[in-house]
Symmetry: C2
């Protein structure tokens, strides 16, 4: 990529001489700032090229200060908003372009490298060995044993027939295996997305009244979710998923877990009517056999998990416990014919291959916009979970996950899923952890798992006739404690109170409102945080750290020394704008005039003769900000105090130049706080 060299030249031929006021008792110096017309190459795209321009370096020993003031004033023009936008689009497309360019040059190997980028399996597949396969096989079988009961359970949570959960554990992992980059993630149905689907879709269609229409809606939503996910990835809009912050997700998932738990208690208690609401107030009545069966196997699963945690070698025990529970409880019910005594059972599960669901997608529904909206929410929540899971395990193994590529993969997973009778799949945290502990090497363990589930769909579904529903409830319930992460909530509280507010907002929103309200509350609080943080009108006093040239905040570094007669102030915001400019102006002026009043009786040394405003934090300044700095300059000058501006950033100096700040107000601008001070009191002090 060659640097473009637009010639952006700044024209100013004024040479301004700034003198300190005559009342000033300290040694005075004149500082000339040369603003000469200078043609500078404008490097808009050249971030990566080295820029060693040795011939331009002047005799620094002699005239360094003026030369550097010149550097500040004559910086090239920053790229405009429009340029920046075009630039960032170009950059995000550049990897595609280079791939296509290499495709033109070397058609065969180019095509292959393009294929490699889309299908990472072609990269790791070449180095795949028998040893790796052995590990993946073991991990995949462990995964399958956990996945089969969970899939059936989560399907009931999504108010679908159990086989749809199993279908969702077949096609999605296979698609992900060829397109995904994560090596540990376990793809399939998860609790939160299942809850989200059922709670949003049953508003459009009652699953009890018309299960076929409901199922069609679920597939359609899954299809749109896949489209959104793939689009996010292809358009490099991955950052949209980040708008659901980590803290919000912790709160959201915990709230969803409690809602799920309350719903499942009903299954455990053997109640017939499933609730249609995701809120807390719709439970309670019971049947003792269901409860005894469910709660005893729940205890069994929880005990195996405890053992698995105590002894790392027994990690497989909690993973297979749900399957053992299903087998044992099914046997018990079959032998005792407990279903005739009120124990509710799964009954018929349709087996066989995933049937096609292409013709079940509904694009002419009257609820079109609602379906698309639900698809969007499901897409974001599912992606957020998948990427969070993928990232955390990738960083454990020390490799980097490409968010956009993952999104494309998840999108195709769900599009393919929606055509083959699967509902929305994503990365499951609990199963990914099992996969990781079981020693998986590549995403091949997902393939093993999918094939095992496929086999059991062919062979074993008939055996699940007598499986009690209470056991499914226990399996779901046993997964919930892992979703309520009190330790993380405490960490968030410790690190950032505002994040904690978003976390609690999402939690309460989901629990007492609905899934959508919880998400909305979390996003609103998160953005309020950004606004408050950005416009907080803070300023801080700087002092020089002994033995260095660094000026730091005196509260952070108590050893920093303030120079008498000079007030060095740094603006704490990244934007001097309408919302904080006047406030900052007022506060600086108040400090200066209070100092004056204090020192009126004392020696004149205490009087502030120079205010150095370190604007290095400011990324940008708007029209109100410029007006406010101009006003501050005038007020301070009429007060007998000088104002020096230190270290303006690119956009800030550009705007100050455009507003003719120096010419209009005679303001002084320096490269650093140290230079401003040197210009005033000399280099020795």
């Amino acid at each position: 990529m060659a640097p473009s060299t637009d010639s952006g030249a700044y024209h100013s031929a004024k040479q301004s001489q700034v003198e300190l006021s005559a009342e000033d008792p300290e040694p005075q110096r004149e500082l000339s700032m040369f603003h000469q017309t200078l043609q500078t190459p404008f490097p808009s795209l050249a971030n990566e090229t080295p820029r060693i321009v040795k011939e331009e370096i002047p005799d620094l020993e002699k005239n360094g200060l003026a030369e550097r003031a010149h550097w500040v004033m004559n910086a090239p023009n920053p790229p405009s908003l429009w340029h920046e936008l075009v630039d960032s689009i170009k950059k995000s497309l550049i990897s595609h372009r280079t791939k296509f360019q290499s495709l033109k040059k070397q058609p065969f190997s180019g095509a292959f490298s393009l294929l490699e980028a889309v299908f990472p399996i072609l990269v790791w597949g070449r180095n795949y060995t028998a040893t790796k396969f052995k590990n993946d096989l073991l991990a995949g079988l462990t995964l399958a044993s956990l996945c089969i009961p969970q899939s059936i359970g989560y399907a009931t949570l999504a108010k679908l027939d159990p086989q749809y959960g199993l279908y969702t554990s077949v096609v999605p992992p296979l698609i992900y295996a060829v397109m995904g980059t994560s090596r540990e993630i376990a793809i399939g149905p998860v609790a939160v997305v299942s809850l989200l689907l059922s709670s949003m879709i049953q508003k459009l269609q009652d699953p009890e009244a018309n299960p076929i229409a409901y199922t069609r809606l679920v597939f359609t939503v899954t299809f749109f979710a896949g489209i959104f996910q793939a689009a996010f990835g292809l358009l490099r809009l991955g950052f949209l998923v980040d708008f659901l912050s980590h803290a919000a997700i912790v709160g959201f998932v915990a709230g969803a877990a409690i809602v799920i738990g309350l719903q499942q208690l009903k299954g455990l208690l053997g109640l017939a009517n499933f609730t249609n609401k995701t809120d807390i107030i719709s439970v309670f009545r019971w049947n003792p056999y269901n409860f005894i069966l469910g709660s005893s196997f729940l205890c069994f699963i929880l005990i195996t998990r405890f053992l698995g945690k105590r002894n790392r070698k027994l990690f497989w025990l909690p993973a297979v416990a749900p399957l053992i529970s299903v087998i044992l409880s099914t046997l018990i019910v079959f032998l005792t014919r407990a279903d005739k005594h009120g124990v509710r059972i799964v009954k018929h599960i349709k087996g066989g291959l995933n049937p096609s669901s292409v013709h079940q997608l509904q694009f002419d529904s009257p609820n079109g916009s609602e379906i698309v909206k639900t698809g969007l929410i499901v897409a974001v929540v599912a992606l957020t979970e998948a990427i969070a899971v993928g990232r955390s395990f990738a960083s454990m193994k020390g490799y980097h996950l490409d968010g956009n590529k993952e999104m494309v993969a998840m999108g195709f997973v769900n599009i393919a899923g929606s055509l083959t009778s699967c509902y929305a799949a994503t990365g499951s945290f609990s199963r990914t952890a099992v996969n990781y502990s079981a020693g998986c090497e590549t995403v091949m363990s997902n393939v093993v798992m999918a094939l095992t589930v496929l086999l059991s769909l062919q062979v074993f579904t008939r055996l699940l006739y007598f499986t009690p529903i209470a056991i499914l409830a226990s399996i779901i319930l046993s997964a919930l404690p892992g979703l309520i992460d009190l330790h993380e909530a405490y960490n968030i509280w410790k690190l950032d109170k505002f994040d904690f507010l978003a976390c609690i907002g999402a939690f309460i929103g989901v629990l007492f409102g609905s899934v959508e309200i919880g998400l909305l509350v979390a996003v609103l609080i998160s953005f309020a945080k950004i606004i408050v943080n950005s416009i907080q009108p803070g300023i801080e006093i700087l002092g020089k750290l002994p033995g260095t040239d660094a000026f730091c905040e005196v509260n952070q570094y108590p050893m920093a020394i303030k120079t008498p007669g000079i007030l060095t102030i740094r603006i704490k915001s990244s934007l001097l704008c309408f919302a904080n400019a006047n406030f900052i102006n007022d506060r600086i002026f108040k400090w200066v005039s209070e100092k004056e009043v204090e020192s009126e009786g004392n020696n004149a040394q205490g009087r502030i003769q120079l205010v150095i405003l370190d604007v290095s934090n400011l990324m940008n300044i708007d029209t109100s900000g410029i007006v406010s700095i101009e006003e501050l300059q005038k007020e301070l000058v009429s007060h007998g105090t000088q104002l020096a501006i230190a270290n303006p950033r690119w956009h800030v100096i550009h705007k100050l130049r455009q507003a003719n700040f120096v010419e209009k107000t005679g303001g002084m601008i320096f490269l650093t706080v140290g230079e401003a001070m040197e210009a005033y009191v000399g280099p020795d002090k």
Copy 2:
């Protein structure tokens, strides 16, 4: 104010040794960072006290680098959110408290200084001289001659009887004269507030159908506006007014001016029915006499204004032209009895002193909440205008205006006004400019103006019977071009595109929607600007400026030199948070790995061995930000690259410490970029 000394101690006794990876071809250095338990006094309130702690300065020549790393890691804890809140409330109340304390100590002089603070007239009144009064008298008379016709015109704009405009030019200026701090501002009715009042209140009550009830509503809204204004000032909520940015006001006022102009065209054309809407599509039919009369005097006023601009000595000509127009046109109508030929006239104007309107305030209206809301909007718009006018003239004369004090004064002005038959008053830009040009010295010119208006209310109102309404329309129309500031709009466009968007949004919102929609659009765009600016996920490459220790952006300073093998990156945002952390992480990692691919064939020197992340811009970091830095550290290390963090701010280092960043990841933290580089390549390079 003594510094409080909470003992905030950071406990960490771990001594971490960080070595660069073995592949590294450059000379290696070991860097020890001593994290010793240190009890540091916590200076939460001591911003203003000097902090020269000489005895703590160690032997810097010997062990400077490690010592300074120690400074970074052992900064005292920053004040918590709660502390900061309490602090800022204390600070804003401190001036009150000190006043009351001095009141206790010296009851008499203390009380007087308190009175002086509330009534600035007591301060400037002591130095008031006959010369000053002569200037103020002249300015006041000029002001009155402009104010009388404008007041009558703006009253018709507010859909009130003409005398209410004159009343509003009596009591408000008198109250402001004793409480206000601006010396130039001219208080009275203004066009935009008049329009705002009529357009919002006539939704509640038709002024044609029941003018008495309408007038009562206007007084009630004025009363609430005053209450809000005084409350903003007393509670130091002045920053709320800043949320209407300068750019938004330019657009808003221009939009309002066009709406007013279209309404007034009807008056000029002599149409009977006044429109009730503030939008563009409600005009046109006409009467030739009205039009001829109005437009010829409009030409006269505009010509005098042109002459006044050409010759600064004739500044009084445009100021008295409206009064001359009123007198001449009234004479013409009286002599020709043109009212019998379709020329609409003012007819009876009630003269005399301002009558009390205490009993006209309506607190039991069914539209209570609407009235309070309208009061709030009027309060904000009026304050915004008054403070903008006051500030711009104060900065011309080089004195500082206390925003909160101004708000309290404006609040009392409107509360008193609402009790004496005045509607909402504020600072008029056009009249303030006349006052300034006429050479006013103090706010005494307002008193002269008020008394002149009072006199004319007693004596001359009967003479205004034959004043044609077309003249009032011409006077209002002639004031409008001053409200449409194309030059400023161009300036805004030049300086800040986003500000221009807010400006245009407000303009279009007012013109095609309503006043409220215009305000809402402007505020929303302004806040969107803040969010976009804050979370923009930018990073920039730094290089060392030759001859200095400063590291600056290579695009801004093309002479900056990059050190081979080291990538110095600065985050451009002030907040590393959920919305930008992953994006920044991805981009840094991509740069590092692209560099690697590029240099694979070339010399090993091109490979990046150290990434220095300058976080000096970051004011804060949230939980997502911390997780993302931890992930970046792990990814870079597994890539054979080191990560060094330079210049963390107070809250950032505090949170990194709380998250045990150094202990968990072995990350390196330095005081400055220079120190990080020194630790790696030695001080000579």
